[in-house]
């Protein structure tokens, strides 16, 4: 099994075609016709990725990305769009998208990209499950440390002293994380 793929696209023909293709390749596929429908789903904390169209009726792909950005755990997003502009792609990648594909995309490239995204999701899911052992402050510091911030910068961001940050980082290491 390759993992779970959410397909969010307002075109039924495309949803069905992609579901068939990816299903044959061992992906579990869940399709949604709109961003709102996806948001209504129960969140699943397992390795997965989101194959997302940009231009849809109602909430756009970028709007959905912005909403998911506020969540503790969100699946890596692979945008699949027919009207891409460089600036939009750069903006989406800066906001954390895993990939930005332009329709029509080759099946090999699509499957490879989705596998990469799911692997990334696996790493994040592992990290998230490890984080469950930590206190809320330790979680914050672990997140920032994983992003490469120094103790001094973390101290400024979470508004504590450097010594406190160092103390939390020691505790995090003791728990086998980082």
């Amino acid at each position: 099994m390759n993992g779970l793929v959410y397909i969010v696209d307002d075109d039924q023909l495309l949803r069905n075609a992609l579901k068939g293709l990816l299903g044959d390749e061992g992906f579990i596929v869940v399709t949604c016709s709109s961003a709102e429908e996806f948001l209504a789903l129960e969140p699943r904390y397992e390795p997965c990725c989101l194959l997302l169209d940009v231009k849809m009726d109602g909430m756009s792909g970028f709007d959905l990305q912005a909403q998911l950005g506020g969540r503790e755990f969100s699946p890596p997003i692979v945008f699949l769009t027919g009207s891409a502009k460089l600036q939009q792609a750069v903006s989406a990648m800066r906001d954390g998208a895993a990939h930005f594909l332009i329709k029509p995309v080759d099946d090999e490239q699509l499957i490879e990209t989705l596998r990469e995204a799911i692997n990334k999701s696996k790493q994040e899911a592992n990290f998230m499950s490890e984080l469950q052992q930590l206190t809320p402050m330790e979680k914050k510091i672990a997140h920032l440390a994983q992003q490469g911030f120094l103790s001094k910068q973390i101290a400024q961001k979470v508004n504590v002293s450097i010594r406190t940050v160092e103390w939390h980082r020691r505790n995090i290491r003791k728990k086998g994380i980082l």
């Binding site: 075609a17 009207s83 329709k103 029509p104 995309v105």
Partner: protein
Amino acid sequence: MLKSTLVTISLILIYILLWHAADLFKYAPFASLWYAPAGLSVAILLLWKKSGFFKVWLCVYVVAMVSPYTHAQNPDISDALLVSFLAAFGHTIPYWVALKAHNKLCQAFDALSEGDLVGPILYPVFLVVGSIGAATLGILIRITFSQMPASVGLSIWLSFWVGDYVGVIVLAPLFVFLGVRYFRRWIEPEKCFLVEYSATKHLFPKHWLSWLCWVSIVILPSLASMARATLDSRLPVGLMFFVALLPIAILATRNTWGVMVTATVLSSITIIISSKLFGMSGDAIEYQFELLTIAVTMLYFYYFASSFRDRTQALLVAERSLGTASRLFVLNEVSANIAHEMSTPLQAALSSSQRVRRRLEKREGDWALEIDELNNAKLAIGQAGNTLNSVRNLVKKNGASDQSCVIEKALSTALELVNSITKMHGIRFTVAEVSHLPDVEIEKNELVQILLNLISNSMNSLKSKSEQEKEIFVSGRRSGSMICIELFDGGDGVEASTLNQLFMAGASDAVDGLGLGLWVSKSIAERRGGILEYIEKDGGGWCFRLSLKCTRGETI
């Protein structure tokens, strides 16, 4: 402060020099003394928004203080102080009031398309009033405070007035031109047609034929006047003509050949008439100068009439270009939308065909032909994808696009673009305060395009309405993270049967309409995460609501 002081001192020195320069000739003293200083006074008032009054007052005060020492044997100091103080006000206030009133009137007419003509037509009129005021007050002050007999005052009033008027009408443009061109950093000019004209035109013509005309306009009448003048007054007469004709020549040679010829003929006729009627006495020269001012006034009028015609033509060209640009914009949007719409079924076809290929590859049996065909299908779809990419690249805009737009600026641009058409049809706009609204996430030209489409539709629906009903209202308000802009009017509105097709491509009631305007507008709005919708109004008429996202900073 230092800059202002230096400028003021320089102006006082120039003012005294100009005054003394006229005094040197001892020719028609009351009039000639004030030719150049009066011209400089008006130029100062036009070139300095706030401190102009003070500068002129100071210049006149200093000159009025100096004059008793140059003209009287034993000047009375206290008398000179008082008379100079009052005379400076008497000279400055009339011009200041006249120019302020003129500018206010121009601003009031600015909204009209014919407003450009108001400035040059009324400028001489206001200066006549200003110079009459200055001459009258000057004489009255001297009669009242300087023991000047009333009979003498009355006899020199005309000379005073002619001196002032000729100076301000002939020389002020030259001083304004020099100020704007060479001392721009030092001045804060009032918005005035003379300043605008001086900022955009060249002082001297470059073409040799223009030079020839310029020289002939200046030199020939000067030579003629010198030949006709009595021997002792040839030099001053020639110089005065030169000074008077110089600005005429500058104005004329920068415009049309017709104006140049007219100016030459007029100036020559005035010389002949004045020499025949008055002989070449000092008074004759004064009247002659007066006639020349009429020529200058005519030149102003001619220039601005031709300028108005040129601007109207430029506007028509711009409107045509706008129409072309609008059509290209629509074509771009259509192409981009087709590219987008085509890519989705292509992706579906590609995914389905490759699914079948992958399945066949895993099955036993000879599926080589089928797999080849499916690979060919993949290649064909890839080729179609490349074509779509070419279309996308064709319509792609160069450079980074600014996605933040000030609604007020976009609306103002759209209204300017339709200004002449709305005036032609007598359609009025009422815009509620939109300056307080935050910026929205859309490019300015995109928002302008949407507004133009909506306004254009509204104008079409209002054409057949009565004068009172020809009004389009625009309002804006904030709704959460969105800004809603509403355009509505008292037209016929949309029929219920066509309501569901309103935003569809090709749907149009107009005979010459493509039916793409609203479709493209909706498409632009949606691409920017916004909504364009039609709201039904109780009283009928159009009402479109455009909702756009605030820029990120504003949302937070």
